[in-house]
């Protein structure tokens, strides 16, 4: 046995060596000194090739079978789907409006015959091929429609169920004939789903082949690996016929905690993050993020609102719904939530910002804090304030219960503000927050709520408001309790207008009908829009390329054009 002093000497040397090894390992990949770049929101002339980009992803998708119920998470689209699934149309920002443009999958704009029946003929780009070299053909369109319209456990069949047939007169021509006219047809074979490879999947169990990731691609990237709970790794698709990626590899690392996500961004372990607009995130941004570019935008596909149950007391009263609109200072709410991000104005329509070309963006603008108006509207409807200061009618107080997703700090903060403001107006408000699965899976469809605070997120450039507000979509036994009109809005004048929005093929006809419908919905205050849930883009100055937001496909939509310095 060695003497203690000698052993501790060895110990010190061992510790020193270990520390040096760690420092050496940390410095090992150090390259040239970092240089501050200009804002990377414009495309640079030369994008470097090579390198691995690591990105922090807040949520792991549950599965990669994009049409299945398990694939509802946006992060699935942002990490894998958008980069591997070919789409017939791209959503692009043109002069401030988000519009559909034919993608490089097509030879140009498809031919539309208004009909009836409505017929769309797609001409497929002969250069378009899957990663295994097989051309993308009309059979792939037919297979995609068949799976979505007739498959099991499909997340959303909207539009595809209106198709009567897909004919394939030649490999590069797909003729889609609709049973019912469908105004949002440009969102089909793209949008949230894309086109599936029939030569790989036909006759097989699609879900089994795709749910854990797949090896084929029709986009700029291929999924190299999906290590569950850890990361998704993408590598360039050598057979992509568009702009090939500059980077060697992109790794999405799953970092579910917002606070750690920001810490990891600060340490440089992840070079880009796309955090939810939670109070933690806003506070972290205010705290400063060195060597980072930041961009915030309210031009999103999100709309957070107070969704009233129009069939339940006290919200079965139009006067109460209107009075709530005049009781809240929505400007103050938005300022409190997102003021530091420069988002200060509330939403005044029930369509998200990316659909502004369809909607009346000032339909709800009359609802501003006005306690005198609250008194006059409520009194005219027979309500009176009791000795406790709260409104009551026929001995029944207009108490309000708000439900939202438990644990969501932004929504809990919103509830607190609303509680205070409504109390001042004479409404007693309680909160009863729920697990997301219970709220969206059970309680809202069953009408077991008075007010729900949550967001509607659009996955395509189509209002699809009939699903939310047409009386035929109130969940009933007749529609298998699957209608999405959880607010139980039942206004006969609105139904034909929103049906026109769904079925008309002309944009201006659709927009006119939508604007008229929004006016009526606003007058009845069936729900009260609050804010657009801004998108937050944070990226390292090491990233070279045009970094901009895409409201459906996130800030990573064009990362095939990015490089690293």
């Amino acid at each position: 046995m060695k003497p203690l002093s000698q052993r501790s000497g060895y110990l010190r040397i061992a510790i020193l060596l270990a520390v040096l090894a760690l420092v050496a390992a940390a410095c090992g990949s150090s390259s040239k000194a970092k240089k501050s770049s200009t804002a990377a929101s414009t495309a640079p002339a030369n994008v470097p090739n090579g390198g691995t980009l690591t990105i922090g992803a807040e949520q792991e998708p549950d599965c990669a079978d994009w049409i299945d119920n398990c694939a509802g998470a946006s992060w699935g689209t942002w990490t894998m789907e958008a980069h591997t699934m070919p789409r017939a149309f791209e959503m692009v920002n043109e002069n401030g409006d988000w519009v559909y443009k034919p993608s490089i999958l097509l030879q140009g704009e498809p031919t539309l015959q208004a009909g009836p029946p409505q017929v769309v003929t797609y001409k497929i780009n002969p250069a378009a091929k899957w990663s295994d070299g097989t051309p993308i053909t009309s059979e792939d369109f037919k297979y995609t429609w068949d799976q979505i319209a007739h498959g099991k456990n499909i997340y959303d069949t909207t539009g595809y169920r209106d198709i009567g047939s897909v004919d394939t007169p030649s490999p590069d021509t797909a003729v889609v004939t609709f049973k019912n006219s469908y105004g949002g047809w440009k969102g089909l074979f793209g949008g949230q789903y894309g086109v599936f490879p029939s030569h790989i999947l036909a006759g097989k169990d699609r879900d089994a082949l795709m749910k854990n990731g797949y090896t084929w691609s029709g986009g700029p990237w291929i999924i190299q690996s999906w290590q569950k709970n850890v990361s998704v790794t993408l590598v360039p698709n050598p057979n992509y016929w568009g702009e090939k990626p500059h980077l060697d590899k992109v790794i999405f690392q799953f970092v579910p905690d917002t606070a750690s996500e920001f810490q990891n961004f600060k340490t440089g372990q992840v070079l880009a993050i796309y955090p939810q607009p939670q109070p933690d995130a806003v506070a972290a941004i205010q705290g400063g993020l060195p060597d980072a570019n930041a961009y915030y935008t309210a031009d999103t596909a999100n709309l957070e609102a107070l969704w009233f149950n129009n069939s339940k007391f006290p919200f079965d009263s139009k006067a109460v719904r209107q009075a709530i609109g005049y009781s809240l200072d929505r400007n103050a709410i938005v300022q409190r939530l997102f003021g530091p991000l420069g988002v200060k104005n509330p939403m005044n329509t029930l369509d998200p910002p990316i659909l502004k070309q369809f909607t009346d963006t000032s339909a709800w603008s009359q609802y501003k804090l006005d306690l005198k108006k609250v008194d006059s509207v409520m009194t005219a409807d027979g309500w009176a304030k009791g000795s406790d200061g709260f409104w009551a009618k026929g001995g029944k107080r207009a108490d309000i219960e708000i439900k939202t997703t438990a644990g969501n700090k932004r929504r809990e903060l919103t509830e607190q503000i609303i509680q205070d403001q409504l109390k001042a107006a004479g409404f007693n408000v309680t909160t009863n927050n729920q697990k997301a699965g219970d709220l969206f899976g059970t309680q809202l469809p069953a009408g077991d709520f008075e007010v729900g605070l949550y967001a509607q997120v659009s996955t395509q450039l189509d209002p699809a408001d009939c699903a939310l507000f047409c009386s035929s979509n109130i969940p009933t036994a007749a529609n298998g309790n699957t209608g999405q009109n959880w607010q139980r809005v039942n206004i006969p004048a609105v139904d034909p207008l929103l049906a026109t929005v769904d079925s008309a093929l002309d944009l201006s006809t659709r927009a006119t009908a939508d604007k008229q419908a929004m006016k009526i919905l606003a007058d009845n205050n069936v729900a009260l829009p609050i804010d657009p849930l801004p998108n937050i883009l944070l990226w390292s100055k090491r990233i070279v390329g045009q970094v901009t937001d895409h409201p459906i496909f996130s800030m990573f939509w064009n990362m095939n054009t990015w490089g690293l310095k």
Binding site: V23, A25, V255, P256, D257, Q263, P445
Partner: protein
Amino acid sequence: MLTYITRRVLYSIPVIFVASFLLFAFVRATFDPTAHLRASRTAAEAIKSERKRLNLDKPTVVQYSDWLKKFVRGDWGTSERTHERVFAMIRRSLWVTTQLIFWGVLVSALLAIAMGVYSAVRQYSALDYTLTGLSFVALAMPPFWFGLIAIQFLSADLKNVFHLQEPLFYSIGLHKPGVTGLNVDYLRHLALPVMTLTVQIVAGWGRYQRAAMLDVMSADYVRTARAKGVPRRRVIFKHALRNALIPLVTVMALDIGVLFGGLIITETIFSIPGMGRLFFDSLLRGDATVLVSWTVVTALFIVLFNLLADVAYGWLDPRIRFS
């Protein structure tokens, strides 16, 4: 000793049955395994067939019995959230958590024993007061706060101070994507989560060890050994420490059992895909099939480590097994 162990094992069997039934019934009453199908347009039909497949229309006891038979055979069902086999999900998460627990317990035990012995032997010394004070500070520090502070100082700030391209200590996962094995990358990933995990455990176990050591140091047989001229170091490590470890070993065994399901915060902060993360993700998404198996597996670990605590106690102190 064998009789003692057999008796303890037999006691554990009904505990496992009762615990697993209660957990099964509780999860079934709280979560609906068909909730994920409600968004579908074909919900009514899909829910009906899924309820039939899962025997949800039968009494809970029958459901439990069916579930238990499959559970024993390793058929733990399929996750409603990911469509993955639950057995594979739990096995994967368990391996990750086991690594964290192994390193955490190893480091904690060494530090806690060293601190406890020193504080007891040098009672009321400056270092004893310092260690006692630090223990209280550590016990008062919530792991989520400590973890984030550790990332800030030991990862972000160190990187900036030394102008490193990468941080010295990582804070995402146990390896870089694509890297495996016991290597420098692993150690750089392990350092901060193990530190976060151990800081409170060391403080707690250290206090235990100190109290046990003080107790033993004042025992007659220790005084006798000293009076007979046995060297101090030998008295401390050979005579006193062995007996003073008995209560700590019991506490350790009980704590380890709880850790298998109790690392939610550490695993969330450091994005480590272990049992805690699996529970948290499944709870948020109402994944009933995973939750049933997860709760039963963690309960099994608690029962198992309670059993080990009993056995260890009986092995270290013969009076227990003969009483």
